[in-house]
């Protein structure tokens, strides 16, 4: 039984507002992606810390608020820990941190998720394990050249156990991506690097799961998830201000009302 996405967004709103953290719009754009990945992974092995467990790396570490809420929803984090998000003395930083149990890799400096995820996939292949590695990158993050070093090698090696999900909300922290350095056509780019590539509605768990549950490809998989930054709250959607701003007071109540509808 999975938690409805509106309920997850309400929780994200609550923890980000209480913690005084930025990045709520980024967190809202990835809810369905995270839910699809966590529904797909074999969680028992993750809880056991098995060497051949599935792994998830959240390269766009600034969506930590969403990740922690999802982990809480799947029993990987307790109430007290989640309530400490972004507070003094907490391990739950504003970016995904490996000091938090079950988080594989600390990210936040962009372009630092894909190579470690590839290393995990290479290691799992060496162990002849069937476990898989899922990595979530932002589209703005793909400006970082280190990503393309990893994408090039993953395609060359045919890493069928590596799944790269792109939260393609079309924005970086300055505005629409096309106004700084455009990254399209993203699908053609991944395909040219020997990725099995799909383009899906990033707010449809079913569409995402339809791609990542298949494993017959002898290539790495890229899932370009077309999303809306700030999805779920009308005044946050595609409004870059909410990359930075923490909802409080009337804004908080208004957002909560929309998510209660």
């Amino acid at each position: 039984m999975t938690t409805p996405n509106k309920q997850l967004r309400r929780k994200i709103l609550e923890v980000i507002s209480r913690g005084g953290s930025p990045h709520i719009a980024s967190a809202f754009s990835m809810v369905e992606i995270l839910n699809a990945v966590f529904r797909t992974m074999a969680l028992e092995k993750i809880k056991d810390g098995a060497r051949d467990r599935d792994r998830f790396v959240m390269s766009k570490g600034h969506g930590a608020g969403a990740l922690y809420v999802i982990m809480h929803a799947y029993g990987l984090m307790g109430d007290d820990d989640l309530a400490s998000f972004h507070a003094n003395g907490s391990l739950l930083a504003g970016h995904a941190s490996h000091f938090v149990k079950y988080i594989e890799h600390s990210t936040g400096a962009l372009g630092h998720g894909l190579s470690p995820a590839l290393g995990m996939a290479i290691g799992l292949r060496a162990l002849k394990s069937e476990a898989r590695v899922f990595v979530l990158v932002g589209d703005g993050e793909l400006h970082e050249g280190s990503n393309w070093e990893a994408i090039m090698l993953a395609g060359h090696l045919g890493m069928e156990n590596l799944y790269v999900l792109v939260d393609s909300n079309g924005y970086d922290q300055m505005g629409p991506l096309g106004s700084s350095c455009g990254i399209e056509p993203l699908r053609a780019k991944f395909e040219s690097f020997n990725f099995a590539t799909a383009e899906v509605d990033g707010h449809s768990e079913q569409e995402i799961m339809g791609v990542i549950q298949k494993s017959e490809n002898k290539k790495p998989t890229a899932v370009i998830c077309r999303t809306v930054k700030g999805k779920g709250v009308s005044f946050m959607e595609s409004n870059v201000v909410w990359h930075y701003r923490t909802p409080a007071g009337e804004e908080y109540e208004k957002a909560l009302a929309e998510l209660n509808d």
Partner: protein, 305 residues
């Protein structure tokens, strides 16, 4: 030195199935047999140092010990943030092996000189730094790094200096004749300092091939036993000299003078052989001996007052 190191790596790969060798497009005629013998645990990731270090982090997450091989400067500086965030922050324990340190690639120009690597890397916690000086110490250092639960960076040169006998510690006396002056050196400059003995016998020589963490226990005895200490290194002053200066300040050392023979802190357009660039920076054996002579003279004048 490189042949000895690779022999050690091969032997270790045979014994330990958890070792994983990675190179960033370096090691022509060295890594090919390893690729054949250990195809699942040897990989050339291409000329991509950031990816090299990131992949090593991912392998570390699975419990592998990665050995990462590239040129010293590209590994230390191109991939600096990956070493910081993906390795040191996570307290992973790969071994970074940087070849062609110092002026090894002298003729190729300033982009290929590794003179600022120690100063950059030593700012990072959870990272050991080594600069092996002899055929004997490089094997010992590799074994130490292999056994360590902390990441290690080994920067080495094409130098083939042999001490002629096994060594038991990365930090050790190479020449001990109870002089007033001690040279502390590492890497290739230990060989240059040994050759300085052809021109002067006025110094002892201590190889400090383990640069970080500093050998605090031995430093106390070394600073107590000499009137002056001269750090000789094919690096900027931000290297070992800077670490020793900080150690002196923190330990309130007042009776020993600290001097440096190091590379001038600039990026030169002028190229040449390694020996030529060492000459320009006062690092050849005769220049080292002359510097020792000046310090000895200075100490004698002071004694006469």
């Amino acid at each position: 030195m490189r042949a000895i190191l690779f022999h050690k790596i091969y032997e270790s790969m045979r014994r330990n199935p958890n070792l994983f060798f990675l190179t960033a497009g370096v090691g022509f005629n060295l890594i090919e047999p390893m690729c054949k013998e250990f195809p699942d645990r040897t990989m050339n990731v291409g000329i991509a140092e950031q990816n090299l270090v990131g992949v090593a982090a991912g392998l570390s997450n699975l419990g592998f010990k990665a050995i990462c091989y590239s040129y010293t400067n590209f590994l230390a500086e191109r991939a600096f943030e990956q070493i910081r965030n993906d390795i040191c922050l996570h307290r992973y324990a790969p071994i970074f092996i940087g070849t062609t340190a110092g002026f090894d690639n002298a003729g190729l120009g300033a982009t290929h000189h590794a003179l600022d690597d120690i100063g950059a890397l030593k700012t990072l916690p959870h990272l050991k730094i080594y600069s092996p000086s002899s055929s004997e110490s490089i094997g010992l250092i590799f074994d130490e790094a292999l056994a360590s639960d902390m990441a290690s960076f080994i920067r080495f040169t094409k130098n083939d200096f042999s001490e002629g006998h096994p060594v038991s510690d990365a930090n050790r006396f190479v020449i001990e004749r109870h002089a007033k002056i001690l040279i502390i050196s590492h890497g290739k400059m230990v060989a240059n300092s040994v050759r300085a003995s052809e021109f002067s016998s006025g110094f002892d020589l201590f190889a400090m091939d383990r640069i970080k963490p500093l050998d605090a226990g031995k430093l106390k005895d070394l600073f107590a036993g000499y009137r002056a200490i001269v750090v000789v290194e094919d690096n900027f002053k931000s290297g070992l000299y800077n670490s020793l200066a900080q150690w002196m300040a923190e330990n309130d050392v007042k009776n020993t003078r600290l001097h440096s023979i190091s590379v001038e802190e600039t990026y030169r357009g002028e190229i040449g052989t390694a020996a030529y660039l060492e000459d320009l920076n006062g690092l050849n054996p005769k220049q080292i001996a002359d510097f020792i002579g000046l310090i000895n003279k200075d100490l004698s004048s002071y004694d006469e007052i």
